[in-house]
Symmetry: C2
Subunit: 166 residues, 2 copies
Amino acid sequence: MTISVYGMTVPIFTRMLTNLLAVMDKAEANAAERKVDTLVLSNMRLAPDMIPFRGQVMIATDHVKGCVSRLAGRDVPSWPDTEETFDELRARIRKALDLLATVQPEDLDGGDTREVTLKLGGKDVAMSGQAYLTERALPNFFFHVTTAYAILRHAGVPIGKRDYIG
Amino acid sequence: MTISVYGMTVPIFTRMLTNLLAVMDKAEANAAERKVDTLVLSNMRLAPDMIPFRGQVMIATDHVKGCVSRLAGRDVPSWPDTEETFDELRARIRKALDLLATVQPEDLDGGDTREVTLKLGGKDVAMSGQAYLTERALPNFFFHVTTAYAILRHAGVPIGKRDYIG
């Protein structure tokens, strides 16, 4: 009658990041056909003051490592944000997938009631693991994966929602 | 150590739809300043073969009513897709919020193990309520809410991720 914290995190993140890798493969194939450097796609944005594709991918993976680490009561690993090329971005996604593969269901037991502290607007804000998961981690993760997809779609890459959903 | 099906659905949908209403209010105020009819925003798209803003809002609410109805073992209400103006779209979002307000936690008890049948690619596909929630309903819901936000952002509406997250 209830869902484990593991079930609401690891399989979701794993599925969506795996789909994102496939979307990037389609984008790369399309770029080759159009004789466009994938670095152009990496740096595309939907608005001048919005984060480019590469930033969307980096932040999506940040939310993955942040979420499973915080809910497991572990320190969040620090990953320098240096990725620019598609190959570097794919490596970062694979790093997140590798981290997810190490998480066991029991590591996240009790994560919903664990107190999580986030820096929001310069202040430390404490909330339950469940509030963090449902109000912060999942909405943010989906926001950045969808925006990454939307940037490629806007750039004319022939992908459909099925590629996003898997 | 686990999260109720209610906790993974109703509060998430309610929060994100409430934020979407606030985002639309900012978009409307900005359109007035720019002397732009909000109907133009309703019909904006990120790509010619992508669904416009109004469609994103309609499909987001479809996933809300589909998700809570299916997980409660009820028929999914049919809402005609006739909305075009901002006022009509807001009314549809409020209709979804009203539906969410009628759902009690116990209505969704056991929703994770209930068999859900979806029409996918013209075929009936059966899956558990949990698979439906994590692999279909939530990714689709967030996809359409984020894309609605992205269309407005691309149109120059002065909103930030904080408006989306709430």
